[in-house]
């Protein structure tokens, strides 16, 4: 699969699962999108561990100290999968995977280079001793337990936005 195909396939599948999708190519772009989708009055949790997470700071005026009380979590994730439109959230590097679970709104930043073509590619990327938690996230939480009627937003987030970063913000290879 070519790179543009991969991206297109990922965005299509993610969209079909009711995730909002956005493409940005630099820090300014990122902040513009974040200002659009995260209301300024909503306390947002952002771990600030990666460059992209740090670059998001200006767009998040109201910060939550912890994800438990946050209205939104903005974070960079391990990767994504084109085949299913999923995000790959992993517990390595001291990351709290549940940060993307508890708040009502999850905003995930992922680099285009980290989009795997298939599920097989994704699982092959982990060592023999995998991290404690690997979670594939496809769209917001949902249920059809009542009369098979789809309800979005159960225990997990009610809203998922994915921001695909097309290139590194501070480097030109």
């Amino acid at each position: 699969m070519t790179s543009p195909d991969l991206l297109r396939r990922f965005l299509e599948n993610a969209g079909n699962a009711a995730a909002g999708t956005h493409i940005v190519s630099d820090a300014t772009d990122l902040c513009r999108v974040l200002s659009d989708i995260v209301p300024g009055t909503d306390p947002a949790f952002c771990p600030g561990l990666t460059d992209k997470e740090k670059a998001a700071a200006p767009a998040l005026p109201c910060r939550a100290a912890d994800y438990a009380g946050a209205a939104a979590t903005v974070e960079e994730v391990y990767g994504a999968i084109a085949e299913t439109g999923s995000l790959v959230c992993v517990s390595s590097s001291g990351r709290a995977v549940q940060a993307g679970l508890l708040p009502a709104h999850h905003v995930a930043i992922v680099s285009r280079e980290r989009i795997f073509a298939t599920l097989d590619d994704c699982f092959a990327s982990f060592p023999e001793d995998p991290p404690t938690n690997i979670t594939l996230v496809t769209g917001p939480s949902r249920t059809a337990d009542i009369e098979l009627t789809l309800a979005i937003g159960v225990h997990g987030p009610e809203r998922l936005d994915i921001i695909v970063f097309l290139s590194e913000p501070c480097s030109e290879a």
């Binding site: 517990s91 995977v97 938690n133 009542i146 009369e147 159960v154």
Partner: protein
């Protein structure tokens, strides 16, 4: 409520269910919806048959070397920080789990869906030991509130309509009546969120266990599975032995098959892979993880002629297409597992003496065989169980005698002809004897059987 198995009353249960119009309508809608969704979901899958072959082969591979995979899993999971327990039967599993919770002084337990926990009646046991066990899967939450058991392995409250759920929430949660599923879902979210954050322990099942890495895999949509397994400090997972897959490299095959087979989704909202406890420097994972591997009859089934039922990945596709299940619902089967896979598993796990009427709960139409993602030869298994029922002496003496007569008569043309003559001549008597339900539905035999008309 039903800790008592009522499979022996299948016919009466079913007849009662047939008279319940709202149940029938709910079951019909569910079966039709899932059937269509499954077909739609697989329409875009390149080679479904190859996928099914692969899944079947992987499951057989595990069954052929189950002990080896079980030991591998236990060793890797332990290395990753989990404590692995083996429970020979239901009572030992209950004791192990109750013991862990009591030792930790755990009073409140949040639980995500686990059919195996229903099988061993875990909740009742823990509640007797003074613990509060809260089901967090919306469907399970609903039936827990109303005091019933699940009627479908994927959508446990399928037999409840929105009005019934609305009235239930109004009564038990003190909220204003609404029958809007969106609003009802939000009510449940608020009610349960508090419990997640303050629970002493989380109790879950697992869809699969990957042996090579010692990982548990959970497929969920609501997020409760994730909450239960990562928020409380203590996580206990219970799963039956045969849920092993060799490694995470084999997981994609099942990710492609299970959600589509179950609900027609191409993937569930969440697929969680949990390997051991929170390691130093990590911010995710339970501090303490106990994994209970349950046998409860699986090893015995493994060595028998019906072992292929252990390939089952609990997708529910078979019950969604079953004409009988669709008509009478899950409770009629009288135990934890309903529908086609339920007929086999119930009979094998609880024994013929407690479940033999279930082997008749099939027209042998084969719809289940067509959709099973791991190619379990369900119809063949029904036939084997029917033979076993006769061998073990659970068939009615009159039927046995009748079949003996049939066997002799149909092997002898003159006897066969004589039999036809007698039933033709004494048809009113045959009808009276056979009852209006059976002989009453047959037409009168022809005056001249075909073999007499042929030149």
């Amino acid at each position: 409520m039903s800790d008592v198995q009522t499979s022996l009353a299948f016919r009466a249960n079913a007849t009662r269910a047939l008279g319940d119009a709202s149940l029938r309508s709910a079951m019909r809608q569910a079966a039709d919806t899932f059937g269509t969704k499954r077909a739609d979901a697989f329409a875009s899958v390149a080679d479904l048959e190859a996928l099914r072959d692969k899944a079947s082969a992987l499951r057989l591979q595990v069954l052929d070397r189950l002990q080896e995979y079980e030991e591998m899993f236990a060793s890797r999971a332990t290395k990753a920080g989990a404590t692995v327990h083996r429970a020979r039967d239901a009572s030992s599993a209950r004791e192990i789990i109750a013991g862990i919770l009591t030792d930790r002084g755990a009073k409140t337990v949040v639980k995500s869906k686990s059919m195996v926990s229903e099988e061993i009646h875990l909740n009742a046991h823990l509640e007797k030991a003074g613990m509060e066990v809260l089901e967090t899967d919306l469907g399970e939450y609903i039936i827990q509130l109303v005091g019933e058991t699940p009627s479908h392995i994927i959508v446990p409250a399928i037999h409840k309509n929105r009005q019934q759920v609305g009235r239930l929430f109004a009564e038990k949660l003190g909220v204003e009546y609404t029958e809007d599923p969106q609003v009802l879902t939000k009510i449940a979210r608020r009610a349960i969120r508090e419990k997640f954050l303050n629970a002493d322990a989380g109790l879950s099942g697992a869809n699969f266990a990957a042996a090579a890495s010692g990982s548990l895999v959970l497929f969920t949509n609501e997020g409760n599975g994730r909450m239960v397994t990562t928020v409380p400090p203590l996580h206990i997972a219970i799963l039956s032995l045969e849920k092993m897959i060799p490694s995470l490299a084999d997981l994609p095959t099942f990710i492609r098959l299970l959600p589509r087979s179950a609900t027609g989704q191409s993937i569930t909202s969440y697929v969680s892979v949990i390997t051991g406890t929170r390691k130093p420097g990590e911010a995710t994972g339970a501090k303490e993880l106990h994994i209970v591997l349950l046998d409860n009859g699986r090893t015995e089934i493994l060595s028998g002629e019906c072992r292929e039922i252990l390939k089952c990945i609990r997708c529910g596709a078979c019950m969604n297409v079953c004409p009988v299940y669709r008509t009478v619902g899950g409770h009629s089967y009288g135990w934890t597992y309903p529908g086609p896979m339920g007929i086999v598993l119930t009979t094998l796990l609880t024994g013929m003496a407690k479940s033999h009427p279930l082997v008749d709960a099939s027209t042998l139409c084969g719809a289940c065989v067509e959709v099973c993602p791991v190619r379990i030869p369900l119809v063949d298994l029904f036939l084997k169980l029917r033979e076993r029922r006769v061998r073990e002496g659970f068939s009615k003496p009159m039927e046995k005698r009748g079949m003996r007569v049939f066997g002799k008569a149909a092997a002898s043309p003159s006897l066969f002809s004589a039999g036809q003559f007698l039933s033709r001549t004494f048809w009113p008597l045959v009808r009276a004897f056979g009852g209006k339900d059976v002989a009453g539905r047959l037409p009168r035999p022809a005056n001249v059987p075909f073999h007499r008309q042929v030149p």
